[in-house]
Symmetry: C2
Subunit: 491 residues, 2 copies
């Protein structure tokens, strides 16, 4: 619960810089700020203090939100790690950039060679660029960072992505450099992803039942981390999960991994402050997709796609602002290029800049998002196309005849096993049968039914809403050159 002494010391350095901070609101934003993008792995919206969870300890993320803008309606466009990261780093839907599924192992998906990602474009715009931690996109040429501070294979228990304070420490030299160019640091943890053992074949196994997954927590701890442990009785079980001992035990582990990552964020920000770069650096915190529990990650229900996004803009006017504009990860690359003043052909992006929303200002015409999932593992084929407004969500399940396929880490989760093995009919508020077997169209009224249980598709009262959303979804498919679009013509 308590920050390590060194961490306290760094906070003190931050406090010493307070007079500078107080003047920040009066200064104009630097024309080309540094950019630090922190990307968590499977961190859902419900597991942050600043998003309303009263139990989990995320003081550094809460402080970032208090000093920046917290987005309440930010969405990934696909709830699978590699594809989502390819959207973050390309500004294109994954079905357009070619990263249809996971990059590692047998899955082997990668973006088209023609893709020119954010780090390449920022590099061309004069930024120095570095990444550390989980990469998980390919090919390297489409997403080249000038410097790789430390890489890490996906699902490798020994990756540095599990040791966020050590990660932060490795960025020190990059942050302290006297290079006059602005910088872009991509900081991607493996926390709070589920952890695995590695079988002799090289494949990961997540088979811990009945013990909870460790989420990377280990008795030996991690350098610079003061572990924050939780009692299963104390966690808040979100409505999409079953309130079972197995689930509570897993949530406690998950919380601990989130708190570990939070300390890494704290260390990184402290290093930025110590290097005198906090006041000219735009900081983003986001997650690739929802939590690694069935019902979130790999689905496009809200727990899978509605995610934390905290942005701290240098020289900002409204600390602690809350922003309700509906933005997606496809908007990140155009936004950051806009912030960087880079001249880029914007027609290549499926997203658009939400720079105007970065300071909590009310912006218009940010009320619809689109999402697209095709694969997670190569064996997990379940293409979905989604349009979501503030009130409604329409999901088109293109392969709805298949039982919903599971990610390897989710099918083995004690949360799922315990819910299904007990013979119960429900998983969270959804029936297990409906979770596994989905219709071609799902239409939900999110205002009346935030849990997305009551499917209104083909309800006569919603025919006009459905027809309108379906038209918009088809337009989206056409505009983003969706390879699955031809299905419309014969299914």
């Amino acid at each position: 619960m308590h920050p390590a002494p060194f961490c306290r010391f760094l906070r003190l350095i931050g406090l010493l810089a307070l007079p500078t901070l107080l003047h920040a609101a009066e200064r104009p934003a630097p024309p080309r700020p540094n950019i630090v993008m922190i990307v968590a792995d499977d961190h859902g919206l419900d597991a942050l203090g600043c998003y309303g969870n009263p139990v989990i300890k995320t003081p550094h993320l809460d402080a970032l939100a208090a000093d920046g803008t917290r987005f309440t309606h930010a969405f990934c466009t696909t709830a699978s790690c590699s594809p989502s990261r390819s959207v973050i780093l390309s500004g294109q839907q994954n079905h357009r950039n070619g990263m249809y599924g996971l990059q590692h192992d047998d899955h082997h998906f990668q973006s088209f060679d023609s893709v020119k990602g954010l780090p390449v474009l920022l590099g061309e715009a004069g930024y120095r660029t570095a990444r550390i931690g989980k990469f998980h996109v390919a090919p390297e040429s489409a997403y080249t960072f000038q410097t790789v501070l430390s890489g890490g294979a996906a699902n490798d228990p020994a990756t540095i992505g599990r040791s966020p304070v050590a990660m932060a420490e490795r960025t020190r030299e990059f942050l302290e450099s006297k290079d006059a160019r602005p910088f872009f640091l991509y900081f991607a943890s493996d926390d709070p992803h589920r952890a695995n053992a590695v079988l002799p074949s090289g494949k990961p196994t997540f088979d811990t039942y009945p013990e909870p997954n460790s989420f990377g927590n280990r008795p030996a701890g991690y350098p610079g981390i003061d572990p924050v442990r939780y009692r299963p009785a104390d966690v808040r079980v979100p409505t999409y999960l079953p309130d079972t001992p197995a689930c509570r035990a897993e949530l406690a582990e998950y919380y601990q991994a989130v708190s570990r990552l939070d300390q890494g964020v704290g260390r990184l920000i402290a290093l930025l402050k110590a290097a005198g770069r906090y006041e000219d650096t735009l900081i983003l915190y986001l997650s690739d997709n929802g939590a690694a529990f069935p019902g979130a990650k790999t689905t496009l229900y809200d727990p899978g796609m509605r995610l934390p996004l905290i942005v701290r803009v240098p020289g900002r006017q409204h600390p602690g602002a809350v922003q309700s504009a509906m933005v997606t990860w496809a908007d990140l690359t155009p936004t950051l290029l806009d912030v960087a003043g880079a001249t880029v052909d914007r027609t290549r992006f499926d997203g658009r800049s939400f720079r105007a929303a970065l300071d909590g200002a009310e912006v218009k015409d940010w009320d619809t998002v689109f999402a697209s999932h095709s694969f997670h593992e190569i064996t997990m084929y379940y293409p979905m196309r989604v349009v979501r407004t503030r009130q409604h969500k329409l999901i088109l399940n293109l392969a709805h005849e298949l039982p919903y396929p599971f990610a390897l880490d989710l099918i083995k989760s004690p949360t799922w096993i315990s819910a299904t093995a007990s013979g119960g009919q429900l998983y969270g508020r959804r029936s297990i049968e409906k979770f596994l077997h989905r219709p071609r169209l799902e239409l939900y009224d999110l205002e009346r039914d935030p849990d997305e249980i009551n499917n209104l598709a083909d309800s006569p009262a919603h025919a006009a809403v459905q027809a309108n959303l379906l038209t918009r979804l088809k337009d989206f498919q056409t505009a983003t050159k969706a390879p699955w679009f031809h299905y419309w013509s014969y299914r």
Copy 2:
């Protein structure tokens, strides 16, 4: 019907070499023969004179068979172009080498970087290597040929792969080289694949209905080709196809494309003879998968997977031999490395050398083959695993809940459209309903039911056969590291 004058001239050169040919049977095989592998695109077993079709004109292929060995039970292991070629060139099942589906355009599948293909291994063994025509595998590093005589994009109407005599002519310098090393020439036509137009988006369109697909035939013809045209009334409609005017019109076009390819083969062999290399060159003719008609290509019914294989071994003993050993395209790389005397770690291959069968000799223990299909286009997910003995075939349809998905060129085929649009219930001898909706397991007695219509899966009388085949299929999945294998554990 008549060879062009230049072709006649080259044939004359061949005839002049006749005294040499007559002595060939007495000479021992050279220790390291040259290798010419001719790979046709979508050429089914029923469209060759030497395999019993009395209508189609394939005189050069028939001559090759008469001078070599004709295999009656040769099989691809996946009936889709890129994956099948990856098997041919790697000796590994496509689900092991990573080439799960098509390489080009959005599909973007490619083998793992760790794959070391036949041209690489033959190059390391001291061969000079060249390819011409359709490649369709990736990455280039896994399948590097030292020389690319002429490449060609898939589904490009202007590819040289449609002009097989021109292709042959471009190999002349390579064949005539005085380089002392043996050579490996990979000669891959686009014939007799369906042809397409290219839309402004770059995507191919096969929409010609009610006109038949041209199969690359064009009024202007091709250099060196004497077009052989067929009347729809004359073609032989195989039992898997509907005997309709639309299908007959398409078969006539298909036959013409096959006869064009045959002339390219004739020119290539004439050039080999003219260069004095016919007697030290092993020549193979095969097709990547069955004909581009629904019911063959992309299925693992016999019209999709049982294919022509003609092999002419230098210094051979039994011209016109017929070989009934059951071999697959996974066996080709180990066989050719064996022929080349290359020392290679053979555990990397899923196939094995059938060198002993190359001269028509009776060989034992070649009575079972395995096959594996996952994708064609990225949108066409339909993993199947197959074991076939002389009498039985067991097909495991892993995504059987889906309607059977169509390749883009097949869904648009007038053959299919006319069969379904007329309201008929049958396509060939199979019900359309059963073609589109398949059970998890299909078991056929090929001796009694060569059309694979009467599904014996779960028939009590065949329980022992089915259990045995299922065990062998699981063993195959384990041995070949099939990524879909984990489905067994929870489906």
